[in-house]
Amino acid sequence: MTGYILSITEKIPKLEEIAPVYAVIVMMIYPWTLTRYFWKLSSWILFASVGDLAAFFAYMVVVNLLESILILLVPLAMSIVLPGKWFYDRFKTRSVALVLFGLGYLIYLNKNLHADSPFPLTLVRWIPMALVVVLLLVFLVDQVGFLRRVLDELANRLTIFLYISIPVSVIALLVVLIRNII
């Protein structure tokens, strides 16, 4: 049992590798909602106070925080479950590719999920196939040195945004918790 746990912990990537991946996730998820927040802002400012706007923002950021953690768990789980050579050894590159293609597909899905249109059932039925394609792309991209370097560089540069997003998310979480406890 101890050996099994040890083998799992050994396959959890280092924080320096996780952080850039998380940064990419954050930079895709947060701005998506943030742009919609600013789109709604024009109607909110007709009646909402600054406190209301801050509370809307806090709820929104907490949802984004939970989403980003959930998405991060996917490459982490793959790193643990799959053989080391498949994912753990190239965690950063493959995770970034996975996140980019996976969330890219989610964006495409979202763009077609208008509530006032017929539900795109065909699109949903193709999700398993899309996931297979995403996984194939992840492994293919990793074979191209140039793309690998681009992804690594991109992820490293985005890490700086975690210095903003993490504190903001923690404050937002506290705000939502306090509002729901008191």
Partner: protein, 502 residues
């Protein structure tokens, strides 16, 4: 073992829910002061008086309301505060005009320094105060008053399927509803949440396709902008159980979503009004949507059929309330927050027009033990409901209230009294009105002021007694009346704008 059908099960579930939700009722209310009458406000969202047979509509849309009216006071010229849920509901619950409470925008709120100026607060703790806002926007207003509400039932109560999230945030329901249900997970356009949004929609879609729309040929009634389906019979069964379980004295504000669009008539009334009847043809208004006559006529028929379905269910509730003896010690108020219009190139109520169908709402009040019908023809307004209910509850009418006592319930008929209906959804709540439609009714006359619309501000004047269809604009022909009413309207508008002028 006796057969338990779906309806029996729901009744049992309703009773069980009541027992769980309202544990305080057994202990506190049954020992309450029986000298206070119970008050039940039953509001049907978007119910126009003009489409109800109890108010003379040629289609038989409201036979049970007619039955109810036989033992009640019927107000024939009752106006809403605004033309959609937010201002209409806020005016009813605060007894103030929209330009005072400032809940004037889509998703808007009663201004923060007026939050205690509401009917729940004014009634006080002598009453057990229960609120149910099936319309999510009504819930936005009601949740502002949570400190004064003893039992709050979220929009999903008695629903068939819902994916609303605010109910999981009981301590911050107002903000959770506005931030999550009305933004992050709102059922419009693409989801604002990239990961949970599509998941939320897919699960909702999966579950909604499993719903059996049996009995509803046009689909189950639903709230289109929010993930909520319901069946009329379940809602009314639930209400019947709820009202029978409450102990005196109680005040309930029940804000039902139907007959708000989408109009989903039950099979009993589906296609009932394919009767060839046509309303008076009216010219398309320059500020209307320019919809074709065919679209408008069809929508009107769907609406009428939905009204009749709703009335049928109301009849069952009426029977249950009569059997339970609720009318003996209760004031029962039937009203709406705004009307619905099908004319002049416009349908429903998301309009800047304030013609009679969209502002003329029902008000029928049954007093405890009332045996005969009474009719009031003088103009009354939604802001009058609050002071009247406080009066019958033996409570003082607060100074902030802008309404008057209703004739027949402490007030007198006053044909010279003026009242106002305000549409200002594009005006910031913190600023003076620059773009709005304001209607003023005084006696039989109604002046409509279109302010801030291109090319110029315009006025229309109608004599509602002689021309209820508002076809003959008297503004040019009656300059004396027009001038007098215009001055009064502009003075009132100026006074309401004063606090917001720099």
């Amino acid at each position: 073992m006796p057969d338990i059908n779906r309806r029996s099960f729901l009744k049992l579930a309703g009773a069980a829910t009541s027992a769980v939700l309202f544990p305080r009722l057994d202990s506190s209310l049954k020992q309450g002061d029986a000298s206070f009458p119970n008050i039940i406000v039953l509001l049907f969202d978007a119910m126009s008086a003009r489409n109800l047979s109890v108010y003379g509509y040629p289609r038989s849309t409201a036979s049970n309301l007619e039955r109810f009216a036989e033992h009640a006071t019927v107000y024939h010229s009752h106006s809403a505060g605004g033309n959609y849920t937010i201002p209409g509901t806020a005016s009813l619950l605060t007894g103030t005009y929209p330009w005072t409470h400032r809940a004037i925008n889509y998703g808007g709120q009663v201004k923060s320094n007026m939050v205690e100026d509401n009917i729940f607060h004014a009634l006080g703790k002598d009453y057990h105060r229960l609120a149910f806002g099936q319309n999510v926007w009504a819930q936005f207003i009601l949740t502002q008053f949570m400190a004064d509400i003893d039992t709050f039932l979220p929009s999903s109560t008695f629903g068939e399927l819902d994916y609303l999230l605010s109910k999981y945030f009981p301590k911050d329901q107002n903000m959770a509803a506005r931030a999550l249900d009305d933004f992050v997970f709102k059922m419009e356009r693409e989801p604002a949440s990239m990961v949970f949004g599509p998941l939320h929609r897919m699960l909702y879609f999966r579950d909604s396709t499993k719903l059996k729309p049996k009995g509803y040929p046009r689909g189950l009634p639903q709230n289109v902008n929010y993930p909520l389906y319901f069946r009329l019979e379940d809602v009314f069964d639930g209400l019947a159980s709820l009202l029978q379980d409450l102990s005196s004295p109680f005040f309930t504000y029940i804000h039902l979503f139907p007959p708000h669009a989408p109009y989903r008539a039950s099979d009993k009334f589906y296609s009932k009004f394919l009767d060839g009847w046509s309303p008076v043809k009216k010219p398309v208004h320059r500020l209307g949507d320019g919809l074709s006559d065919l679209v408008i006529k069809t929508e009107r028929r769907y609406y009428d059929e939905y009204l009749a379905s709703l009335d049928w269910e109301f009849g069952r509730l009426l029977d249950a309330m009569e059997d339970a003896g609720i009318f003996e010690n209760s004031y029962v108020v039937i009203t709406s927050d705004h009307g619905e219009m099908f004319e002049r190139g416009e349908k429903a109520h998301a309009t800047v027009l304030l013609y009679d169908p969209v502002v003329h709402i029902p008000l029928i009040i049954s007093a405890p033990g009332q045996k005969v019908r009474s009719d009031v023809y003088a103009p009354t307004h939604a802001v009058d409901v609050l002071p009247t209910l406080l009066q019958v509850a033996g409570k003082p009418v607060p100074s902030w209230c802008e309404g008057r006592l209703l004739p027949g319930l402490g007030g007198v008929e006053d044909m010279e009294r003026s009242h106002f209906i305000v549409e200002a959804k594009s005006t910031p709540a913190f600023q003076p009105f620059k773009k709005a439609t304001i209607a003023m009714q005084k006696g039989n006359y109604k002046l409509i002021y279109y302010m801030g619309y291109e090319p110029d501000d315009t006025f229309e004047l109608y004599d509602l007694h002689a021309d209820i269809e508002e076809l003959d604009d008297l503004y040019p022909a009656q300059p004396a009346i027009a001038r007098r009413m215009k001055e009064e309207l502009l003075d009132s508008l100026f006074d309401s704008n004063k606090p917001y002028m720099k």
